[in-house]
Assembly symmetry: C2
Homo-oligomer: 345 residues x 2
DNA sequence: CTGAAAGCGCTTACAG
DNA sequence: CTGAAAGCGCTTACAG
């Protein structure tokens, strides 16, 4: 516990009070168990620690960082915090960061290139030790620049151009959904595909399309549309899909749960009953999926773990190590939104 | 754009190359438009700026902070990032922070007192200029300590013990829901009340109860239960409410949209149809509300603005000013989850 | 208009 | 076992 707020307690404060040199105090306070010996005599160590405790000494991180060139700060860029998936990933990152004495500076870039760049610059300017990008664009243009500047980074959720990334195996997840729907006999399906520049949407949709192609079914263009990953995006995309075709598909695959919920809303607006008239599947298994009146079939993506592992990889990089991308296994969660609907004959 | 990554560009780099003293360079780079005159001659200013641009000079924030005792860092403590409401508030905070050159360090404390304390200590140790608490407990015990330590702070979303807070007028919002349900003739209602230590839940529930009391209706204890604010909390609480009573209420008010969705799930499990057999209302008007198969009546809370204003107030505090709490006006959003259900006669 | 000095609080090899 | 020095990169009154 700190005491008064007026005279900040510094190494000097401690050194003066103890009749020691600041360097001695510093050494003691840094000594890791094991190398305690060379820091000072055990008596001195005890005295120093005691007073530091009493006065509530907290090292000034700016001073340390200035000397050591390490800030213990990690920047996390995400498209939006209000995206549950990213929020869960951030929680995983933060948890793992806390365990390592790192602090995270999380910022939303809204998938706006100029913002992404500005935030990355800001992070670099802040001398963060590393960056976690949750908002990578698949071509990785900005990343090439950051890479050249030398600050270590990893990607989470979205992969890009060979940089180390921790993702769900989105392609396989997309295939799982397709195989499930194929197994139920759905031949006329539509895809609410998300953004064309994010690997999540791309891979999920591609896995889905490939599985259908393997079954000899090519989706016509009017059964496939890009959109924002959120509720509104899914709603608008689904409305478009429905308006463009003479009749609705028998199933819709939305590449995120949020978009799937948007699809639910759009279908409702047209009196099409999810789970009865049409099958709907999402991706993520966020909290809403299991609570909907007709529970949502979806693909469970280990969001929290993606964040954790992302930070662990970055940690490895900061220690000078090498890391390889990780692709975590998805799991199909079957619920009534697909099982209670019959495909059209 | 920065260039190479090897030799970091410092004031010294610039000064040496230009044959100037670092202090002159520093002055120039700090000169705000208007007081440019006293920094250096306009020729010098031009030269300095040009070179700084070319070399991609970025002031080392650790060095500045060490000198100025200002970190331009603001800590934000929230119960959980995965709570949409808090995420939206964080986005508002971040947006306003960006405009002021402040960076935000956001961390989740999960409503665990030990974590809350640890994170607050961490923030203080990091020498943040100020703190925004989104996880305040109504008694404000920790806040009293922080206050004594002298770091400015404001609360968002939840108020506590007279500290400056930016909230939705939760009490009024709770009343709005009650008046709406009363108007529809609901006399047997239940409350999914959230956590007993957070002002959001307390005030929303109290407003609701008071309005019912004003109408001469006291809720029996088996129609009121506390719970976590999320989907699972709402689900479990609703299950409890239903199990404890011989028959279901004709309406349920959940103090968050997430909990309301959980209620929807629990009702579904028992075959009780929302909007037909029972009315359900939430609070927040998060993105899910409008998309549900039976759209959710809820209270719109200006989450983004709460965050923005929170940061603005903190900014005022950092400038040495005084601030007063703000209570923003809620708005009832009526949808079918309440209007299509008939109260039991 | 520009320079020189002092100092923010720390860390780290180096002496002794 | 402990001290002294140097220096991280910046800012800010103060001289001149």
């Amino acid at each position: 516990m700190g005491e008064v707020s007026d005279p900040p307690v510094t190494l000097r404060t401690l050194a003066d009070r103890l009749g020691l040199h600041v360097s001695t105090v510093s050494r003691v306070l840094h000594a890791k168990p094991g190398e305690t010996q060379r820091a000072a005599s055990s008596a001195t160590i005890r005295r120093v620690r005691k007073l530091a405790d009493e006065l509530g000494y907290r090292p000034n991180p700016h001073a340390s960082s200035l000397r050591t060139k390490r800030s213990n700060l990690v920047a996390v860029l995400v498209p939006r915090l209000s995206d549950t998936v990213l929020a869960a990933i951030c929680e995983g990152i933060e948890e793992a960061a806390g365990e390592r004495g790192l602090s995270t500076i999380i910022t939303s870039t809204k998938d706006v290139p100029a913002l992404r760049r500005a935030r990355a610059e800001l992070a670099l300017g802040q001398r963060v030790d590393g960056i976690i990008f949750g908002d990578a664009v698949v071509d990785g243009a900005l990343l090439a620049e950051i890479s050249a500047r030398g600050t270590p980074f990893v990607l989470v959720n979205r992969r890009a151009a060979g940089y180390p990334a921790v993702t769900c195996d989105d392609y396989v997840g997309g295939r799982m959904v397709a195989d499930h729907l194929l197994g139920l006999g759905h031949t006329d399906v539509a895809v609410v595909a998300g953004r064309p520049y994010a690997s999540t949407g791309i891979d999920r949709a591609q896995g889905f399309l490939d599985a259908y192609a393997d079954a000899g079914i090519e989706l016509p263009t009017h059964r496939f549309t890009h959109c924002a990953f959120d509720e509104r995006g899914g709603h608008e995309a689904t409305a478009r899909l429905l308006d463009q075709a003479t009749r609705p598909p028998s199933a819709v695959f939305a590449v995120t749960d949020a978009a799937a919920l948007g699809a639910v809303g759009a279908l409702r607006d047209r009196g099409i009953r999810v789970g009865t008239d049409i099958a709907v599947a999402g991706f993520g298994d966020t909290a809403i999926a299991a609570e909907l009146p007709v529970p949502l079939t979806t693909v469970r993506s280990p969001m929290h773990r993606i964040g954790r592992i992302g930070l662990e990889l970055l940690g490895e990089l900061l220690r000078g190590g090498q890391v390889a991308s990780r692709r975590l296994r998805p799991e199909l969660v079957i619920r009534e939104s697909t099982t209670s609907a019959r495909p059209r004959p």
